[in-house]
Amino acid sequence: MLNYSLKRLASAIPTLLLLITVAFFLIRIAPGGPFDAEKALPEDIKANLEAKYQLDQPLIIQYVRYLWQIVQLDLGPSFHYRDWTVNELIAQGAPVSFTLGALALVLAFTLGTALGAWAALKQNSVADYSTMSVAMIGISIPNFVVAPLLVLVFAVTLGWLPAGGWSYSFSHLLLPTIALALPMVAYIARITRGSMIEVLHSGFIRTARAKGLPEREVIVQHALKPALLPVISYMGPAAAGILTGSVVIERIFTIPGIGSHFVQGALNRDYTLVMGVVIFYGVLIIVMNFLVDLLYAWLDPRIRYD
């Protein structure tokens, strides 16, 4: 197991390197630069700044310097927020984004699996069809539509909740969490329903019934775990979905998380900040997928990594 883990982590290095390289050059191709404000800076000051951040050097030198910096776990200074390093900005935004993302994931998984399992057990009933129709709609409406709709209804029209802003409180967390989780709830419900129906038709469920176990025990003891395995493997992509979703949601609800930094960084051509967030997201997704694989192996006795 340890051996496998080390191998997995080693194989993540080329992935990350590729990610860093592509992102580094792509962002430089984008028109504009970090010091092209609306009010143009005098040429000599701009040249000074670019020299300070070594932007006047050949791109390939900048790239190699940047890589060396990354190896030392230093994401560099922010070009826009002059008193901040990117490490500091990410450290500051991370707890906010993490709270929101974790809540959305938990909500998506509990609600999604519960709805999906329920629909499967009531297969082909009105309850099943209505749940799955709503799920279909949920999947096809993206975050950036759901979020303003929620704001419109619950903040603007009903006035029950704030339209945005941030504090670690129920009222500030509720709408963004729901907006972030909703498409995922629907997707997970569909996965769960499908796998649950498949599992309920398998030989060992027939055996469990033939043994005389009550139906509740057949479901809980025998069907639930295998039915949830496909949902577990979806947790990797789900985490990635939460990251991209949070970029939009944090922006809409004016939440000071990493997603907001990312958008702001991109608008300001804050190269180091954007790169920092990209690398942070990349590492997060790699780690998440790794954890999911470990969890899966732990749940399925037929899989052993060694």
Binding site: G203, R206, T207, A210, K211, G212, L213, E217, H222
Partner: protein
């Protein structure tokens, strides 16, 4: 009153193509300790007969008629009531032992839950009883096996586990649906031998379902021959083998591979196919494949008792003796 009385059992499935008539008015009894073989080609309704008895039909299936266990009607019984009988008084094991066991649970847990559920045993006592049962089905090192998962065991071993599971509560009836069909030939005979020994040691009645008359020969006292969901012949094992009363039985016997016949190439499957269960023929269901068919066979034959405890569903009084010389 017999231990189990099946009367006019009908099993039908709703499908997009129409109603599939899997079992069509089947009646038989099972007495304590009896070993009954149920034979018939694939698709003749053997499995669905057992599934109807257990209340395990697929969602699109319906059973009517009557299945009485110790006088208690099982058809239409609530799942809750049925679950007290399943696994405790009537057990069933299936064709594919590996997929019949839960791949995510240890063998031990799957055995123990039967006892904690039906016998209210504490886990420790249940574990001990389960290990004894594994020993009884000749599994070596039971304590070790209890900790293993199904994929770590061979198919034959899994079937032994299934048999042990079925016998844990000393049921009145054990239904074994093609228990060896999915296994290697050498393993098949080991499992058959085991079933034979177990049936002699216990008073459990066995209903052995198979498409292979050869398997039944060593194991059963009586044989029920099924075709298109109907009983074609019912007889004690010896008279059935020596002088089959039904043309279908005769056909099945001819297709049993026997050492003395394999070389001489006499082995022959019955030509043709079973009837379409979506629209059954009006007369004798076997007519299209029967070499003795005559005018009368366009009417559905009823069941006749030709000798005490010997039944056949055929318009012929007796089968003509085969003219060619048999190898034996």
């Amino acid at each position: 009153m017999a231990l189990l009385e099946v009367r006019d059992l009908v099993v039908a499935f709703d499908t997009p193509e129409g109603e599939v008539h899997a079992v069509n008015g089947l009646s038989f009894d099972l007495e304590p300790g009896q070993t009954l073989g149920v034979v018939g080609e694939s698709g003749s309704g053997k499995t669905q007969t057992a599934m109807a008895m257990m209340g395990l039909l697929a969602e699109n299936g319906r059973a009517s008629g009557s299945v009485r266990f110790r006088g208690q009607e099982l058809l239409g019984m609530s799942t809750q009531e049925l679950s007290r009988i399943r696994g405790s008084s009537i057990s069933m094991i299936f064709q594919d032992p590996i997929s019949s066991l839960n791949p995510y649970m240890t063998i031990g847990d799957q055995l123990i839950e039967v006892l904690t559920h039906h016998r209210n045993l504490k886990r420790k006592a249940a574990r001990q009883r389960a290990e004894e049962m594994l020993h009884q089905v000749q599994i070596s090192d039971p304590a070790q096996r209890m900790r293993q998962f199904p994929h770590e065991l061979s198919g034959g071993m899994c079937q032994r586990v299934m048999i042990a599971m079925g016998l844990l509560c000393q049921p009145d009836i054990l239904i074994a649906d093609e228990p060896t069909t999915a296994l290697d030939v050498t393993v098949q005979s080991q499992i058959n031998l085991l079933m034979d020994e177990l049936s002699e040691q216990s008073s459990t009645a066995i209903m052995l379902i198979t498409h292979d008359l050869g398997v039944i020969a060593g194991l059963c006292n009586q044989v029920l021959v099924m075709y298109a969901g109907e009983l074609m012949e019912f007889a004690d094992i010896d008279p059935l083998f020596s002088s089959p009363a039904h043309p279908y039985t005769e056909g099945l016997l001819k297709s049993v591979p026997r050492l003395d016949q394999i070389d001489s190439g006499i082995l022959s499957a019955i030509p043709g196919n079973p009837p379409d269960l979506l629209s059954l023929p009006v007369g004798c269901p076997f007519r299209a494949r029967c070499s003795y068919a005559f005018d009368q066979c366009s009417a559905h034959p009823s069941l006749r008792e030709t000798e005490p405890d010997r039944w056949t569903r055929c318009h012929l009084d007796t089968l003509p003796k085969p003219t060619e010389n048999k190898a034996d």
